[in-house]
Symmetry: C2
Subunit: 105 residues, 2 copies
């Protein structure tokens, strides 16, 4: 048994968002995402087959949904995004690393 | 669509550990646990039918496994506990709230 740290091994250079699977099972994927000012392209809507529960561990971000609602997320904020609810990353803080935990199920 | 904060609504008085289901689906339960110096009773081993992935968001804790291994967890540390791997909470910091995120699957 061994613990790892979710804030470890964040690269100094981060040209694009970093996605890293922490755990994969039949029904669940747990992923770390690191953003540094990255956002989805204007037409870069996520339309996912699975539900996603996402928590901002560090940093600040905005999610946009297809009805143009924008939700601001600070550290500790979490939201459940049902499958096929179209969304995009509207903004992440360019001054900080934004570290997300995403649970896909 | 609405975000909630994982550090909100922690009671001033916490006589026992606090367990709160944040999300429940067919395959997955996501739970917040708050400890304030609490630990499992000496014979209080968890022997769970499901896998558990647990992350310490704030505070400090120790888990003990049935081979007597003790794992220290600081903020950001996570560990995967397979189903039926017996474990108990050996210690949590009495000076701080320890906030855990647990994903059962």
């Amino acid at each position: 048994m061994k613990a790892d740290n979710i804030f470890s091994a964040i690269p100094v250079n981060l040209d694009s968002e970093m996605f890293e699977v922490l755990l994969q099972s039949d029904n669940v994927t747990i992923e770390r995402i690191v953003s540094r000012g990255h956002q989805s392209p204007d037409n870069g809507w996520y339309d996912q087959d699975r539900n996603e529960w996402v928590l901002v561990l560090r940093g600040r971000a905005e999610l946009m949904f297809d009805d143009q609602t924008v939700i601001s997320l600070d550290a500790g904020d979490y939201i459940h995004i049902p499958s096929h609810k179209k969304h995009r990353v509207n903004w992440t803080d360019p001054e900080l690393d934004t570290v997300w935990l995403a649970v896909h199920f």
